[in-house]
Protein backbone atom coordinates (compact mmCIF):
# COMPACT_ATOMS: atom_id res chain seq x y z
CA UNK A 1 0.00 0.00 0.00
CA UNK A 2 1.28 3.42 -0.91
CA UNK A 3 2.11 5.89 1.79
CA UNK A 4 -0.51 8.32 0.52
CA UNK A 5 -3.20 5.70 0.80
CA UNK A 6 -2.23 5.08 4.38
CA UNK A 7 -2.29 8.75 5.15
CA UNK A 8 -5.73 9.17 3.59
CA UNK A 9 -7.03 6.25 5.68
CA UNK A 10 -5.64 7.84 8.78
CA UNK A 11 -7.13 11.22 7.92
CA UNK A 12 -10.56 9.65 7.97
CA UNK A 13 -10.18 9.23 11.69
CA UNK A 14 -10.51 13.02 11.95
CA UNK A 15 -14.24 12.42 11.74
CA UNK A 16 -14.28 10.95 15.20
CA UNK A 17 -16.06 13.46 17.42
CA UNK A 18 -16.95 13.38 21.09
CA UNK A 19 -20.53 12.64 21.98
CA UNK A 20 -22.38 15.99 22.11
CA UNK A 21 -24.12 15.09 25.37
CA UNK A 22 -20.86 14.29 27.09
CA UNK A 23 -19.18 17.42 25.67
CA UNK A 24 -21.97 19.63 26.98
CA UNK A 25 -21.92 18.17 30.48
CA UNK A 26 -18.12 18.29 30.70
CA UNK A 27 -18.02 21.89 29.53
CA UNK A 28 -20.74 22.98 31.95
CA UNK A 29 -18.96 21.38 34.86
CA UNK A 30 -15.68 23.07 34.03
CA UNK A 31 -17.32 26.47 33.51
CA UNK A 32 -19.19 26.19 36.79
CA UNK A 33 -15.96 25.28 38.55
CA UNK A 34 -14.16 28.21 37.02
CA UNK A 35 -16.83 30.60 38.23
CA UNK A 36 -16.41 29.45 41.81
CA UNK A 37 -14.26 31.58 44.08
CA UNK A 38 -10.81 30.04 44.40
CA UNK A 39 -11.06 28.66 47.98
CA UNK A 40 -14.35 26.96 47.18
CA UNK A 41 -12.96 25.77 43.85
CA UNK A 42 -9.98 24.16 45.60
CA UNK A 43 -12.29 22.47 48.12
CA UNK A 44 -14.54 21.27 45.31
CA UNK A 45 -11.61 19.96 43.26
CA UNK A 46 -10.32 18.04 46.25
CA UNK A 47 -13.67 16.30 46.53
CA UNK A 48 -13.56 15.19 42.92
CA UNK A 49 -12.53 11.53 42.66
CA UNK A 50 -10.39 12.39 39.66
CA UNK A 51 -8.58 15.02 41.67
CA UNK A 52 -7.76 12.72 44.54
CA UNK A 53 -4.03 12.40 44.69
CA UNK A 54 -2.84 8.91 44.04
CA UNK A 55 -0.64 7.35 46.64
CA UNK A 56 2.52 7.19 44.66
CA UNK A 57 6.07 7.04 45.70
CA UNK A 58 6.43 10.66 44.66
CA UNK A 59 3.54 11.66 46.91
CA UNK A 60 5.05 9.71 49.83
CA UNK A 61 8.42 11.34 49.34
CA UNK A 62 6.83 14.72 49.02
CA UNK A 63 4.52 14.66 52.02
CA UNK A 64 5.18 11.76 54.35
CA UNK A 65 8.95 11.88 54.40
CA UNK A 66 9.28 15.50 55.56
CA UNK A 67 6.66 14.87 58.24
CA UNK A 68 8.52 11.78 59.39
CA UNK A 69 11.80 13.64 59.47
CA UNK A 70 10.23 16.50 61.45
CA UNK A 71 8.67 14.10 63.96
CA UNK A 72 11.95 12.25 64.36
CA UNK A 73 13.77 15.52 64.87
CA UNK A 74 11.33 16.59 67.57
CA UNK A 75 11.62 13.21 69.26
CA UNK A 76 15.38 13.43 69.22
CA UNK A 77 15.28 16.95 70.57
CA UNK A 78 12.98 15.99 73.44
CA UNK A 79 14.81 12.78 74.06
CA UNK A 80 18.10 14.57 73.78
CA UNK A 81 17.05 17.22 76.25
CA UNK A 82 16.03 14.59 78.73
CA UNK A 83 19.27 12.72 78.19
CA UNK A 84 21.31 15.88 78.56
CA UNK A 85 19.53 16.78 81.75
CA UNK A 86 20.14 13.35 83.17
CA UNK A 87 23.76 13.47 82.12
CA UNK A 88 24.22 16.95 83.62
CA UNK A 89 22.95 15.88 86.99
CA UNK A 90 24.82 12.61 86.82
CA UNK A 91 28.03 14.48 86.15
CA UNK A 92 27.66 17.28 88.68
CA UNK A 93 25.56 15.57 91.31
CA UNK A 94 26.49 11.91 91.22
CA UNK A 95 24.71 11.26 94.49
CA UNK A 96 21.38 12.06 92.86
CA UNK A 97 21.74 9.10 90.57
CA UNK A 98 22.28 6.53 93.38
CA UNK A 99 19.32 5.54 95.52
CA UNK A 100 21.44 4.34 98.45
CA UNK A 101 23.37 7.55 98.53
CA UNK A 102 20.14 9.49 98.37
CA UNK A 103 18.65 7.51 101.28
CA UNK A 104 21.77 8.02 103.35
CA UNK A 105 21.71 11.72 102.65
CA UNK A 106 18.07 11.87 103.65
CA UNK A 107 18.83 10.18 106.95
CA UNK A 108 21.61 12.62 107.56
CA UNK A 109 19.27 15.43 106.81
CA UNK A 110 16.74 14.23 109.40
CA UNK A 111 19.40 13.94 112.04
CA UNK A 112 20.56 17.40 111.25
CA UNK A 113 17.04 18.70 111.80
CA UNK A 114 16.83 17.06 115.21
CA UNK A 115 20.20 18.38 116.24
CA UNK A 116 19.14 21.83 115.19
CA UNK A 117 15.95 21.58 117.21
CA UNK A 118 17.83 20.45 120.32
CA UNK A 119 20.29 23.27 119.93
CA UNK A 120 17.41 25.69 119.62
CA UNK A 121 15.76 24.41 122.75
CA UNK A 122 19.02 24.56 124.66
CA UNK A 123 19.59 28.13 123.56
CA UNK A 124 16.03 29.01 124.52
CA UNK A 125 16.48 27.52 128.02
CA UNK A 126 19.57 29.58 128.57
CA UNK A 127 17.75 32.70 127.47
CA UNK A 128 14.85 32.01 129.81
CA UNK A 129 17.05 31.28 132.79
CA UNK A 130 18.98 34.47 132.20
CA UNK A 131 15.77 36.38 131.98
CA UNK A 132 14.56 34.89 135.25
CA UNK A 133 17.81 35.71 136.99
CA UNK A 134 17.53 39.27 135.89
CA UNK A 135 13.96 39.38 136.97
CA UNK A 136 14.95 38.11 140.41
CA UNK A 137 17.72 40.65 140.66
CA UNK A 138 15.44 43.52 139.94
CA UNK A 139 12.74 42.07 142.12
CA UNK A 140 14.92 42.70 145.15
CA UNK A 141 14.75 46.37 144.39
CA UNK A 142 11.04 46.52 143.94
CA UNK A 143 8.79 48.23 146.56
CA UNK A 144 6.99 46.18 149.19
CA UNK A 145 3.65 47.39 147.94
CA UNK A 146 4.40 46.21 144.48
CA UNK A 147 5.60 42.85 145.74
CA UNK A 148 2.49 42.55 147.90
CA UNK A 149 0.31 43.21 144.87
CA UNK A 150 2.21 40.65 142.94
CA UNK A 151 1.90 38.28 145.82
CA UNK A 152 -1.87 38.41 145.57
CA UNK A 153 -1.47 37.37 142.03
CA UNK A 154 1.07 34.77 142.77
CA UNK A 155 0.08 31.81 144.84
CA UNK A 156 3.21 31.31 146.98
CA UNK A 157 1.68 28.47 148.93
CA UNK A 158 1.41 26.57 145.76
CA UNK A 159 4.84 26.82 144.19
CA UNK A 160 3.61 25.52 140.92
CA UNK A 161 1.55 27.75 138.73
CA UNK A 162 0.06 26.05 135.80
CA UNK A 163 -0.05 29.13 133.68
CA UNK A 164 3.56 29.90 134.28
CA UNK A 165 4.46 26.34 133.64
CA UNK A 166 2.61 26.49 130.41
CA UNK A 167 4.27 29.72 129.43
CA UNK A 168 7.67 28.37 130.30
CA UNK A 169 7.00 25.20 128.42
CA UNK A 170 5.91 27.17 125.38
CA UNK A 171 9.06 29.20 125.67
CA UNK A 172 11.37 26.27 126.04
CA UNK A 173 9.69 23.98 123.66
Amino acid sequence: MMEQEIISKLKQLQNIKPDPGYAGVSRSMLMALMQMPKPRRTWFLLRQPQAQPRITLAAVLRYALPATIAASFMFLMLGGYSTMRTAYFAFNFPGLMNEKILAAELNDFEIQIKIAELQYHADSSKTVSLALNEAGYYANNLSNDLIKNEGDFLNAKNPTNEKIDEALNDLIL
Binding site: M1, E3, E5, I6, I7, K9, L10, K11, Q12, L13, Q14, N15, I16, K17, P18, D19, P20, Y22, A23, S26, R27, M29, L30, M31, L33, M34, Q35, L45, Q48, Q50, A51, R54
Partner: protein, 177 residues
Protein backbone atom coordinates in the same frame (compact mmCIF):
# COMPACT_ATOMS: atom_id res chain seq x y z
CA UNK B 1 -3.73 27.41 16.88
CA UNK B 2 -6.69 29.53 17.83
CA UNK B 3 -6.86 33.10 16.49
CA UNK B 4 -5.78 35.52 19.16
CA UNK B 5 -4.85 32.57 21.30
CA UNK B 6 -2.34 34.45 23.41
CA UNK B 7 -4.97 36.99 24.46
CA UNK B 8 -7.56 34.30 25.13
CA UNK B 9 -5.09 32.42 27.31
CA UNK B 10 -4.29 35.56 29.28
CA UNK B 11 -7.99 36.13 29.89
CA UNK B 12 -8.41 32.52 30.97
CA UNK B 13 -5.49 32.90 33.38
CA UNK B 14 -7.21 35.95 34.84
CA UNK B 15 -10.26 33.78 35.46
CA UNK B 16 -12.58 34.54 32.58
CA UNK B 17 -14.63 31.40 32.14
CA UNK B 18 -15.69 32.41 28.62
CA UNK B 19 -12.04 32.47 27.55
CA UNK B 20 -11.43 29.01 28.96
CA UNK B 21 -14.63 27.93 27.24
CA UNK B 22 -13.22 29.06 23.89
CA UNK B 23 -10.07 27.04 24.48
CA UNK B 24 -12.16 24.06 25.51
CA UNK B 25 -14.39 24.23 22.43
CA UNK B 26 -11.41 24.44 20.11
CA UNK B 27 -9.15 21.79 21.63
CA UNK B 28 -11.49 19.30 23.21
CA UNK B 29 -12.30 17.32 20.03
CA UNK B 30 -8.64 16.79 19.17
CA UNK B 31 -7.71 15.83 22.72
CA UNK B 32 -10.64 13.45 22.81
CA UNK B 33 -9.56 11.83 19.53
CA UNK B 34 -6.00 11.52 20.75
CA UNK B 35 -7.08 9.90 24.00
CA UNK B 36 -9.63 7.64 22.33
CA UNK B 37 -7.12 6.34 19.80
CA UNK B 38 -4.70 5.61 22.63
CA UNK B 39 -7.00 3.93 25.14
CA UNK B 40 -9.58 2.44 22.83
CA UNK B 41 -12.60 2.82 25.13
CA UNK B 42 -15.07 5.64 24.67
CA UNK B 43 -16.08 5.96 28.33
CA UNK B 44 -12.47 5.89 29.45
CA UNK B 45 -11.59 8.45 26.77
CA UNK B 46 -14.38 10.73 27.99
CA UNK B 47 -13.22 10.49 31.60
CA UNK B 48 -9.62 11.11 30.68
CA UNK B 49 -10.48 14.02 28.39
CA UNK B 50 -12.44 15.65 31.16
CA UNK B 51 -9.52 15.02 33.51
CA UNK B 52 -7.15 16.68 31.04
CA UNK B 53 -9.19 19.89 30.97
CA UNK B 54 -9.72 19.75 34.71
CA UNK B 55 -5.95 19.64 35.14
CA UNK B 56 -5.59 22.47 32.66
CA UNK B 57 -8.10 24.51 34.64
CA UNK B 58 -6.27 23.84 37.90
CA UNK B 59 -2.88 24.72 36.50
CA UNK B 60 -3.61 27.42 33.97
CA UNK B 61 -2.43 30.13 36.34
CA UNK B 62 1.05 28.63 36.02
CA UNK B 63 0.97 28.45 32.24
CA UNK B 64 3.46 30.65 30.40
CA UNK B 65 3.03 31.37 26.73
CA UNK B 66 6.57 30.96 25.42
CA UNK B 67 5.70 30.88 21.73
CA UNK B 68 4.46 27.29 21.81
CA UNK B 69 0.84 26.58 21.00
CA UNK B 70 -1.52 25.92 23.87
CA UNK B 71 -2.21 22.51 22.32
CA UNK B 72 1.35 21.34 23.10
CA UNK B 73 0.68 21.89 26.78
CA UNK B 74 -2.66 20.10 26.55
CA UNK B 75 -1.10 17.14 24.77
CA UNK B 76 1.52 16.84 27.49
CA UNK B 77 -1.22 16.74 30.10
CA UNK B 78 -3.09 14.18 28.01
CA UNK B 79 -0.03 11.94 27.64
CA UNK B 80 0.65 12.06 31.35
CA UNK B 81 -2.98 11.32 32.16
CA UNK B 82 -2.97 8.31 29.85
CA UNK B 83 0.26 7.01 31.39
CA UNK B 84 -1.07 7.48 34.92
CA UNK B 85 -4.31 5.79 33.96
CA UNK B 86 -2.46 2.85 32.44
CA UNK B 87 -0.40 2.42 35.61
CA UNK B 88 -3.45 2.26 37.84
CA UNK B 89 -5.36 -0.13 35.64
CA UNK B 90 -5.01 -3.79 36.56
CA UNK B 91 -5.71 -5.11 33.12
CA UNK B 92 -4.90 -3.72 29.74
CA UNK B 93 -7.09 -4.53 26.80
CA UNK B 94 -5.54 -4.24 23.36
CA UNK B 95 -7.16 -1.68 21.15
CA UNK B 96 -7.94 -4.08 18.37
CA UNK B 97 -9.91 -6.42 20.64
CA UNK B 98 -12.48 -3.84 21.53
CA UNK B 99 -15.98 -3.38 20.28
CA UNK B 100 -15.85 0.31 19.96
CA UNK B 101 -18.60 2.60 18.80
CA UNK B 102 -17.16 6.05 18.53
CA UNK B 103 -19.30 8.91 17.44
CA UNK B 104 -18.98 9.56 13.72
CA UNK B 105 -20.44 12.56 11.98
CA UNK B 106 -23.68 11.41 10.26
CA UNK B 107 -22.72 12.92 6.91
CA UNK B 108 -19.47 11.09 6.88
CA UNK B 109 -20.97 7.87 8.12
CA UNK B 110 -22.88 7.41 4.90
CA UNK B 111 -19.77 7.58 2.75
CA UNK B 112 -17.57 5.65 5.11
CA UNK B 113 -17.41 1.89 5.26
CA UNK B 114 -17.26 2.03 9.01
CA UNK B 115 -16.70 -1.60 9.80
CA UNK B 116 -13.79 -2.02 7.47
CA UNK B 117 -12.00 1.32 7.13
CA UNK B 118 -12.34 2.53 10.64
CA UNK B 119 -11.56 -0.70 12.41
CA UNK B 120 -8.55 -1.48 10.25
CA UNK B 121 -7.07 1.97 10.87
CA UNK B 122 -7.77 1.75 14.59
CA UNK B 123 -6.24 -1.68 14.86
CA UNK B 124 -3.19 -0.63 12.93
CA UNK B 125 -2.59 2.37 15.21
CA UNK B 126 -3.10 0.12 18.22
CA UNK B 127 -0.17 -2.01 17.15
CA UNK B 128 2.29 0.86 17.01
CA UNK B 129 4.41 1.71 20.01
CA UNK B 130 3.50 4.73 22.12
CA UNK B 131 5.83 7.19 20.40
CA UNK B 132 4.70 6.11 16.94
CA UNK B 133 1.05 6.37 17.96
CA UNK B 134 1.59 9.91 19.24
CA UNK B 135 3.35 11.05 16.06
CA UNK B 136 0.86 9.38 13.69
CA UNK B 137 -2.17 10.77 15.51
CA UNK B 138 -0.79 14.29 15.80
CA UNK B 139 0.68 14.41 12.30
CA UNK B 140 -1.84 12.64 10.07
CA UNK B 141 -5.07 12.93 12.04
CA UNK B 142 -4.70 16.31 13.73
CA UNK B 143 -2.43 17.88 11.12
CA UNK B 144 0.29 19.31 13.37
CA UNK B 145 3.66 20.29 11.98
CA UNK B 146 6.82 18.45 12.96
CA UNK B 147 7.84 21.45 15.07
CA UNK B 148 4.57 21.46 17.01
CA UNK B 149 4.76 17.72 17.56
CA UNK B 150 8.37 18.03 18.76
CA UNK B 151 7.33 20.67 21.30
CA UNK B 152 4.43 18.60 22.55
CA UNK B 153 6.48 15.41 22.88
CA UNK B 154 9.70 17.05 24.15
CA UNK B 155 11.77 15.77 21.23
CA UNK B 156 13.61 17.41 18.39
CA UNK B 157 12.20 17.53 14.88
CA UNK B 158 14.71 15.02 13.57
CA UNK B 159 13.55 12.44 16.08
CA UNK B 160 9.92 13.12 15.13
CA UNK B 161 10.66 12.53 11.45
CA UNK B 162 12.46 9.29 12.24
CA UNK B 163 9.57 8.05 14.38
CA UNK B 164 7.10 9.02 11.65
CA UNK B 165 9.08 7.15 8.99
CA UNK B 166 9.21 3.97 11.07
CA UNK B 167 5.51 4.26 11.89
CA UNK B 168 4.57 4.51 8.19
CA UNK B 169 6.66 1.45 7.32
CA UNK B 170 4.91 -0.53 10.06
CA UNK B 171 1.45 0.72 9.01
CA UNK B 172 2.15 -0.32 5.41
CA UNK B 173 2.75 -3.86 6.56
CA UNK B 174 -0.28 -3.89 8.85
CA UNK B 175 -2.75 -2.35 6.38
CA UNK B 176 -1.53 -4.32 3.41
CA UNK B 177 -2.37 -7.65 5.03
Amino acid sequence: MLDGEKNIIQRAIRGESSAFGQLYDHYMPMIYRFVLLKVGRREEAEDLTHQVFLSALQNISGYKHLGHPFSSWLYKIARNSIIDNARTKKETIPLYDLDMEPHIEPAIEKTLDLNKEFNSAMKAIGQLNEEQQNVVIMKFIEGFSHKEIAEALDKNEGAIRTIQHRAIIKLKKLLSV
